[in-house]
Amino acid sequence: MNLTLKIWRQENEKAQGKFVTYEVKDISPDSSFLEMLDILNEQLVNKIQLPIAFDHDCREGICGMCSLYINGRAHGPDEGITTCQLHMRKFSDGDIITIEPWRSRGFPIIKDLMVNRDAFDNIMQSGGYISVNTGGIPDANSIPISKENSDLSMDAAACIGCGACVATCKNSSAMLFVSAKVSQFALLPQGRTEAKIISNIARMNREFLCANFS
């Protein structure tokens, strides 16, 4: 299929950005969205132009590094997946696709479609852990945990920290990211022995100027 791409290009954090239009041809519906961008970048490199900078790594939907806003939606039109798992069969020949970086004050743009998500690391550092050192730990089966709680905890723990929730929220709130970590720990006896949730939220409030918290 042939596609028209409108892609946000921005030299660095301070520079003025703009949309630039590109055409790509003969894209297989079986290729992934990022493979489609690879093909575009190969074209650009062959013309000695700067390729489009975008974050990606595992390309299996788990590392949380890819981060595109596609046609006004974080990770594009498909449900329950990241951009790297989005396949071109979700689009049609002749489509115009708009591609932007995450939009949030908490995630400044580094270049083109790449953003800085240090704020998430900062939140984790301010309390996203159970305070245990390596070693000297009781046997793993010493405290039974109900399957139900364990499963619910796993649901929350599965958050990949990509930042789509922040990019989607009108207030750029990191509430979903934080609550995933809080839920994971709150459901387990290991996590209930210390309450670091407050510092977590306070930190979140500094990084993400959220209107629902004062």
């Binding site: 700067l50 390729p51 900078a53 329950g80 396949h87 580094i110 109900s146 599965a158 387990l188």
Partner: protein, 647 residues
């Protein structure tokens, strides 16, 4: 030339690690604060080492090329982590885990290291639970286990299909805690460019800030590499796009021997290649072989019809299916080790029974498991994998069998290390997949997570102290020392050289060619002729790279093409060494299958008399032949046998 001394402690196998710990040198708390440790990489091995050493009071600097430590590719490990807990009461023990790992590795791993690994395995599970990792549990609230290849017991702990993610986030949480306590300084989007040696010891690294392009040096009393494997030498692999060999390769060029480079693991169950635009391959967890059955059509005519789309696999009758693993290996069936399963798939496809348009695919079928256990149970066990498969292929694996084919997955080879995990350069330690030590010629499923965390949590924090204990008198060095400045200058010269080629070809176009050469000749089946051809081809690709490469953009800014270029430069050199290593090893063992050396039944045929050693290669300089050193392996606690998964 360094002397190859593996420093394995004396005494009985079962006591070595305890004895070592009892007698090793330690560093007192006041002195720990004066010692800097550089750790490169934040996967399971790197993050767990950084957190543990920070907790002990050392001053740690931790580096990763990704935007956050949590992205390291350990995160993608799906199926599970082994431990000898014997919770299911099915006869497991530390010895049995040790035995299975040495046997699975086709008797090419160091006995003492593997025994230590099995010994500390249980502590990893305890640690994970304490960190708040929601491992799978049974209704009674206790931990659940599943089975993995190469074992007759259930010893694999898991968190759905995201075990690597949960273990990594546990280590990342512990790391985050230390960053908050300021015992660890974290450097994201920063890539190692070289290792600095002062008076024969590793004393620091030169890094490039990937956002600004700035080159700078960092000092450490010791340097630890936890930089993962080199599967991307094949271009297509299950590794992350950024995974590379460069840190290990720089260590190699600075004097660390590189061991068994030809031992790479080809994972039997990945989604088949579907076009030349493909950027990576996706793994379908080995855990699926607990319930999935692997087959191809019995008749070539049926296979042909399937390839042409004239026949659907689900309509093929039971008697027309060849469950070839169950047929060939009745004892282990679908749960044979990865190398065996991969070769068996290749054998059927080469014989003309393959499915997919390309003929390179076999089925992984859940029909009988769904009939036996119900769709809900299968969904609970593998839901996220089925969803991922559906998104990529547009097929519904609940209704039609999955299509799979082997793909490059893991590197058993890596930087040679001694019992203390130190390379042949003093003060340069290598942990996790980046080293060579524990998996021999083939790694068993769910053992990579175990080894990464064993090294980082429970081995390195001890052994590195034995080295650092006599370094307490060494003051922090200024990075303006000539050794640092020289290394920085060399890095800048390399980058200038790459940018000034100004040829016509993109990095990826050359990398893809390298990948095809490696896959065809240094892949699942190798022979003398093919390996010699590969050596020729790589030589010409190297020339093409250094004369016809084109990199747009600048050195001093974010430049993804430049990053790919300096990584590929190292892959090209590694590829050559892999082919040489494969050529020198005149036997088949584990993942290294030489067509000239096989049994009548097509199984790998080892030559224990001549090859019971790890091949540790010394770098001799540009355009000079590598020098081979043999780390001779002896098995005192295990009877070395032909691996047999038939009975």
């Amino acid at each position: 030339m360094a002397i190859l001394n593996s420093k394995v402690p004396g005494g009985k196998l079962f006591d070595k690690w305890t004895e070592y710990k009892n007698h090793q040198n330690l560093v007192n708390p006041a002195n720990k604060r004066k010692l800097d440790i550089i750790i490169v990489g934040t996967g399971l091995a790197g993050a767990s080492a950084a957190a543990s050493l920070g907790e002990l009071g050392f001053k740690v600097k931790n580096f990763c090329y990704q935007d956050s430590a949590r992205r390291a590719h350990s995160i993608a490990a799906q199926g599970g982590i082994n431990a000898a807990k014997n919770y299911p009461n099915d006869g497991d023990s530390v010895y049995r885990l040790f035995y299975d790992t040495v046997k699975g590795g086709d008797y090419r791993a160091r006995e003492s290291n593997v025994y230590r690994l099995a010994e500390v395995s249980n502590s990893i599970i305890d640690q994970g639970v304490a960190q708040g990792i929601p491992f799978a549990r049974d209704y009674g609230g206790l931990l659940d286990n599943r089975s993995f290849g190469g074992a007759l017991v259930s010893r694999t702990f898991y968190a759905r299909g995201q075990t690597g993610q949960q273990l990594l986030l546990g280590a990342y949480s512990a790391l985050s805690r230390q960053i908050n306590k300021k015992t660890v300084d974290m450097y994201n989007r920063t890539e190692l460019m070289d290792i600095v040696i002062v008076d024969g010891r590793a004393r620091g690294i030169v890094v490039r800030n990937l956002v600004t392009g700035k080159i700078e040096s960092h000092f450490g009393h010791a340097v630890v590499l936890a930089t993962g494997g080199y599967g991307n030498v094949f271009f297509l692999s299950t590794n992350a796009m950024g995974s590379n060999v460069s840190a290990a390769w720089k260590a190699h060029k600075k004097g660390s021997y590189f061991a068994n480079p030809c031992f790479v693991q080809i994972h039997p169950t990945c989604i088949p290649v579907h076009g030349d635009f493909q950027s990576k391959l996706t793994l379908m967890s080995e855990s699926l072989r607990n319930d999935g059955r692997i087959w191809v059509p019995k008749k070539k005519s049926d296979a042909e019809k399937i390839r042409k789309g004239q026949l659907k696999p689900e309509s093929l009758k039971e008697e027309d299916r060849d469950y070839y693993l169950e047929r060939r290996y009745p004892a282990f069936g679908n749960l044979v080790p990865r190398d065996v399963a991969s070769r068996a798939a290749k054998e059927r496809c080469d014989a003309g029974f393959g499915i997919e348009k390309t003929g390179k695919g076999v089925y992984l079928d859940f029909k009988s498991a769904i009939e036996r256990l119900g769709k809900n149970t299968i969904e609970q066990r593998y839901g996220n994998l089925f969803q991922m498969y559906g998104k990529i292929t547009d097929d519904n694996p609940y209704e039609t069998p999955m299509k799979i084919y082997p793909a490059i997955h893991y590197s058993m080879g890596g930087v040679w290390v001694d019992y203390e995990l130190m390379s042949t350069v003093k003060g340069l330690f290598v942990v996790g997949e980046a080293n060579f030590s524990d998996h021999g010629a083939n790694r068993l499923g769910a053992s990579a997570l175990m080894q990464g965390l064993a090294d980082g949590y429970f081995v390195l924090p001890y052994t590195i102290q034995n080295y650092l204990a006599d370094q307490i008198g060494v003051a922090r060095m200024d990075t303006n020392l000539p050794e640092f400045k020289k290394a920085e200058k060399d890095v800048k010269l390399l980058l200038d050289k790459l940018m000034s080629i100004k040829g016509k070809r993109s990095v990826d176009s050359i990398h893809k060619e390298l990948g095809i050469t490696m896959w065809d000749n240094v892949g699942m089946a190798r022979n003398k002729k093919g390996l010699e051809l590969a050596l020729e081809k790589i030589k010409s690709l190297k020339k093409e790279f250094w004369t016809n490469l084109r990199i747009p953009g600048e050195i001093n800014s974010l430049n993804t093409e430049l990053e790919k270029a300096y990584r590929l430069a190292d892959f090209l050199e590694l590829g050559e060494l892999m082919a040489k290593d494969a050529l020198h090893r005149d036997e088949s063992s584990g993942g290294h299958f030489r067509e000239e050396y096989q049994t009548d039944e097509g199984e790998a045929k080892r030559d224990d008399k001549n090859f019971t050693y790890a091949a540790a290669w010394e770098y001799a300089g540009e355009n000079k032949e590598h020098i081979l050193h043999k780390d001779v392996l002896s098995y005192e606690n295990i009877e070395v046998k032909q691996r047999n998964y038939k009975k």
